[in-house]
Subunit: 207 residues, 3 copies
């Protein structure tokens, strides 16, 4: 049951990040194949980098091939859906699925690294890498400065703090999936709130 | 014999992509070392990423060290050759070797993944990754939006379709190298034609 | 003792590259988290890529977790230190730690690959990759053309030549750490001199 839960969660994260990549590539007038590929890289980039670093094989998308098909389908259909429904592809539209991907991947990545026997600090970092790498790759591919490093809003900081929530909950008697779920929900909520209310990191400015 | 064939083919793909990287870096006024390195990354990037994903070691360029020497030689000599012969480094000059690299790497990568026991869909994706990653890295390094995602011409789409040709031919009694060769020739031809006649993907435009 | 020496050296290289990444990100007005992350990627990027290519696990930063904590601390404190002391974050300020990182990582990476049983040429390349990859990633992340490919000053060329120094010294009876140290010092010195006196690579210009 734990495994089913984790796979479902990872699939949700994949779809959320795919959506963010698709919106971003569509905003930049990429062609249909480019939209699908940026979506795929945003979706699978973080988890694949995590698995390379942890030396885990097969990859999520190799084992769960269905999601590759799903992604191609979504990537091909979605732009037409946006267009037909006159959905404006604003930056904000992209930030909502991105927030879900952030929370899910950071919680899942931290948990996975802990299970692989990594220390708490390294596990939290793996969670951050899982959550941030896909979005960074997405931004690099559309030739922008990675938003996660530049927008002065908490993003990687949320993944970092949320990873420690997973670690700390791990010391309680709660079932693992509850730990992951609580941390993920917390991170998504904080990120959405920080987008809505424009919370900023302590603003350090180079003079 | 199959192995010799595949190594020769991969070497041709390496040289083709190296050429594309060298032309691109020279166009951007990179220095001599930069030209060699962008050439090397365009040439070996796709195959190396494929081997990391498939967990294959040693890499092609570790086993076939000769090609590293060849690449350095070509990278150092070619810019002078271009200059002496007044060869214009237009974007089009770059697209011809790029087309050869595309067909060869997509066919070879798909075949390699099939042999490694991957499913057809994953094998086709590995072919696409092998073919596209080197060029994407090349474009990111010269600080451009990856052409493969943006030019509205079939590129990754050709690698995808051509990969399925390798898979389908695999069900026939033909020798493996014939399958790979047919698919590679097909892809190179379609790509060259699509460049020449400016074939475009179905043009989806975000309004 | 050799091991302690190598770990200390790698740690120095990590800190030097971290400093270069922190300065670069601060110059680009990245936020605090971005500064820490660009610093971390500049610091650990080259060594991690080398370890992925050589299939070495665990990574340096997984084994020597202390350095991750150190890096986060340095990344958070340094910008305030710069500001308080009115240290100008010029490009030149970045080039000094970068030179140290270059020499240390090129020498260490070459040595490590030789010990892993790689041929001299491949080992030298691994040294170049270790030394150059972190800085290239840093420059890509701040959305600039990688300086190592573009500035017409010897950089990767120094790593390449210095790697051969490690290889050649390996044929003498000198202890390994002496070989690594001599090569590293040589490379740092040549790089600093070439920055100071604006030495240039043979200037090839595409006309």
């Amino acid at each position: 049951m734990l495994e089913t839960f984790l796979i479902t969660l990872e699939a949700l994260g994949v779809l959320a990040f795919a959506l963010s990549g698709i919106i971003e590539a569509a905003r930049k007038q990429f062609d249909l194949v480019g939209v699908v590929m940026v979506g795929a890289i945003a979706a699978f980039g973080g988890g694949t980098l995590r698995d390379v670093l942890l030396d885990r094989r097969p990859f999520f998308w190799v084992e769960q091939e269905f999601w590759v098909w799903a992604l191609i389908g979504v990537g091909l259909v979605l732009p037409f859906f946006f267009r037909a429904n006159h959905i404006a592809l604003t930056e904000k539209a992209m930030l909502i699925p991105d927030a879900f991907g952030l929370g899910i991947f950071a919680a899942g990545g931290t948990h996975l690294a802990l299970v692989s026997g990594m220390s708490p600090m390294i596990s939290v970092l793996m969670g951050v890498i899982t959550a941030v790498a896909g979005g960074v790759l997405r931004d690099v591919l559309v030739n922008e400065v990675p938003r996660a490093f530049h927008d002065h809003q908490p993003y990687a900081a949320i993944a970092f703090a949320g990873g420690w929530v997973v670690v700390l909950l791990g010391y309680l008697q709660t079932p693992e999936y509850v730990d992951v779920l609580i941390a993920a929900v917390l991170m998504v909520a904080v990120r959405l709130l920080s987008v809505k209310f424009k919370w900023e990191l302590f603003r350090w400015r180079y003079l």
